[in-house]
């Protein structure tokens, strides 16, 4: 319903608007163009057949050729009022245009609308949430990364060869020489670490190593495993508890520089 005009609901209407001049019911002589299954027909209604509702609308098939069809309309509606002829031709034009458009669109890929099922959608969303919670992604990723670190996929980039270092220690005897070697080694690596990992938390890792250094130099080899466990345990607890003992030990860690002996231990460890 536009501001000034109504729409006509009659299917035989020519213009679509509800006026006196374009109502098929109000006019006894009327014509329309309608299309069915892609073919256009001209429907005509004359006053002589007003008494026979079944035969009221006469149907003429229009040719597929646009100009020929226009001529056909003309010759069928030859003595009819100008308004109806004109509007019929306009309507026919519009119909052919939209038929062409339909044919063009069907050639292109059409968007297929698949209806969602609400219950299923809800079920899927809920399952997704639960799966997300069950997945514990952060933990899984961290575990995987640590696994890769252990399996040495990163090669020499990260200087945490603590396990290897301890293994090398265990291979040797519990002598002060080996310990001093260890200290020297650690010292070297600490120096390396300081250079390389500038942007990282180098301080903490240094102190952790110093911590290890201190404890390993103090205790004997049999107790090393315990120390390892204890150190790793305290490490895994979190940063802040670790900072405590590290800070406590900080003032009195002394780096003892011994003579360089057996540089091969480094390669063994690596």
């Amino acid at each position: 319903r536009t501001k000034t005009q109504n729409f006509c609901r009659n299917e035989y209407n020519l213009t679509g608007l509800c006026n006196r001049s374009s109502c098929p019911l109000a006019n006894s002589q009327y014509a329309t163009v309608r299309e069915e299954k892609g073919r256009c027909y001209l429907y005509m209604k004359t006053i002589e057949r007003a008494a026979f509702p079944r035969r009221l609308w006469e149907r003429v098939l229009l040719s597929k050729n646009y100009e020929k069809a226009l001529e056909e309309i003309d010759e069928n509606l030859i003595y009819w009022p100008r308004f109806i002829r004109h509007k019929c031709k306009q309507r026919f034009t519009k119909i052919t245009q939209y038929l062409i458009r339909i044919r063009k669109l069907t050639l292109k890929r059409q968007r297929k609308l698949v209806p969602l099922r609400r219950k299923i959608e809800r079920r899927e969303n809920r399952r997704e949430e639960k799966a997300l919670i069950a997945a514990q992604l952060d933990n899984a990723i961290e575990k995987e990364l640590l696994e890769r670190l252990k399996q040495d996929t990163y090669g020499d980039i990260y200087n945490f060869p603590i396990h290897a270092f301890d293994k090398a220690l265990q291979q040797q005897d519990a002598e002060s020489e080996s310990e001093s070697d260890a200290e020297k080694e650690e010292d070297d690596e600490d120096v390396d670490k300081r250079e390389f990992v500038e942007a990282d938390d180098s301080d903490l890792s240094d102190f952790e190593d110093m911590d290890k250094l201190e404890t390993s130099s103090e205790e004997e080899q049999e107790e090393e495993e315990e120390v390892e466990k204890k150190a790793s345990h305290s490490k895994s607890k979190g940063k802040s508890p670790l900072k405590g003992p590290a800070r406590r030990k900080r003032p009195y860690i002394e780096i003892e520089y011994e003579e360089e002996t057996e540089p091969t231990t480094k390669t063994k460890a690596a």
């Binding site: 968007r111 992604l137 899984a140 990364l145």
Partner: protein, 326 residues
């Protein structure tokens, strides 16, 4: 007489004492037989409290027994999870299976895994992408190295594919969009490779993720594929792996994760840093989304004549809650 006396007695009790310590409940009546809603509710609460007490007492007893036994105590019962109860899938891949290894050596991804081809990815959308999808495409292209985003402009996929192959692309990603959000992903390995169609959900762009990281750099990220156990899962996993360059640059410290859990594949992109040997910190950057596999086709994208290796059939496959396919 017993039934008559029971409710009456309990009603009297209910009216008088709010929460008695010792409640005699063995009478034959059940809580649901009381007609009065208020009293019934009250009796039910009391029954629940008693159940909880009994449970607590049982737990304490069990704990004492366990402590008393010390080392000889039976191992703790593992709670049942869906992953534990999962219906065993006969296509589960055994890591040492030779047949699988042979298949993988000869399938379409073999050239990638043999380092013969370098992945080059084309990302595109469906017609007329809206802003969110466009931004998502851009972010995805920063995540995946050597990828290009092209607008669709109404081109048929079947015609794009030969052109892509001519220009040496190895993979094609089409992000389908509906109502301004991306909701589908089509991943097609180009030189005649399998095509996987996923449904994408819960897409978060970079600015929506709560983190304070910068953008992903140009380094090739590492790839983590978790939990792809069955044959189907394995092939999908290889498909994902073939998107990324085979040699990750560890300097970049970036990792892209595809984690499969209960048939949902979660994608995350993180930057990691090793704080110590036993601790790693990760920071999420990059978009995140979840995928659910809908179908896997043998050849490239062809919806009518393609040969489907696997389609998700809801009626048959969603019947059991413990059965997963990936």
């Amino acid at each position: 007489a017993g039934d008559g006396g029971g409710p009456a007695g309990s009603a009297a009790e209910g009216g008088g004492l709010p929460a008695p310590q010792r409640v005699l409940f063995p009478p034959t009546f059940s809580v649901s037989e009381i007609k009065n809603k208020q009293r019934r509710h009250f009796m039910f609460l009391r029954w629940k409290q008693q159940q909880r007490k009994e449970k607590l007492a049982a737990k304490k007893k069990r704990r004492k027994e366990r402590e008393a036994l010390g080392d000889k105590a039976p191992p703790k019962a593992v709670p049942k999870t869906i992953e534990n109860q999962r219906v065993y899938d006969e296509t589960t891949v055994d890591p040492n299976d030779e047949e699988v290894a042979f298949d993988e050596a000869t399938d379409e991804f073999a050239p990638y895994f043999n380092r013969q081809t370098v992945p080059k990815i084309l990302i595109t959308t469906s017609d007329r992408p809206r802003g969110r999808t466009v931004r998502f495409c851009e972010q995805l292209s920063t995540v995946i190295p050597n990828s290009h985003v092209y607008y669709r402009r109404g081109l048929a996929l079947k015609r794009i594919i030969p052109q892509c192959i001519a220009r040496d692309f190895t993979d094609l990603i089409v992000i389908n969009e509906d109502r301004k959000i991306p909701n589908g992903l089509l991943l097609s390995h180009l030189p005649d490779g399998p095509t996987a169609h996923f449904r994408m959900s819960s897409v978060r762009l970079r600015k929506e993720i709560k983190r304070k990281g910068k953008e992903p750099t140009e380094h090739a990220p590492e790839v983590i594929l978790n939990n792809f156990t069955t044959r189907l899962g394995h092939s999908i996993g290889r498909m994902f792996a073939s998107l990324f360059p085979h040699d990750p640059q560890f300097i970049g410290r970036q990792v892209a994760t595809f984690h499969n859990q209960r048939d949902y594949i979660f994608f995350r992109f993180h930057r990691y840093i090793f704080k110590s040997e036993k601790k790693v910190g990760i920071q999420e950057l990059g978009p995140r989304f979840t995928l659910k596999l809908r179908s896997l086709q043998k050849g490239t994208f062809d919806s009518k004549f393609g040969e489907y290796e696997w389609i998700h059939k809801r009626r048959e496959m969603d019947t059991s809650r413990r059965k997963f396919h990936l």
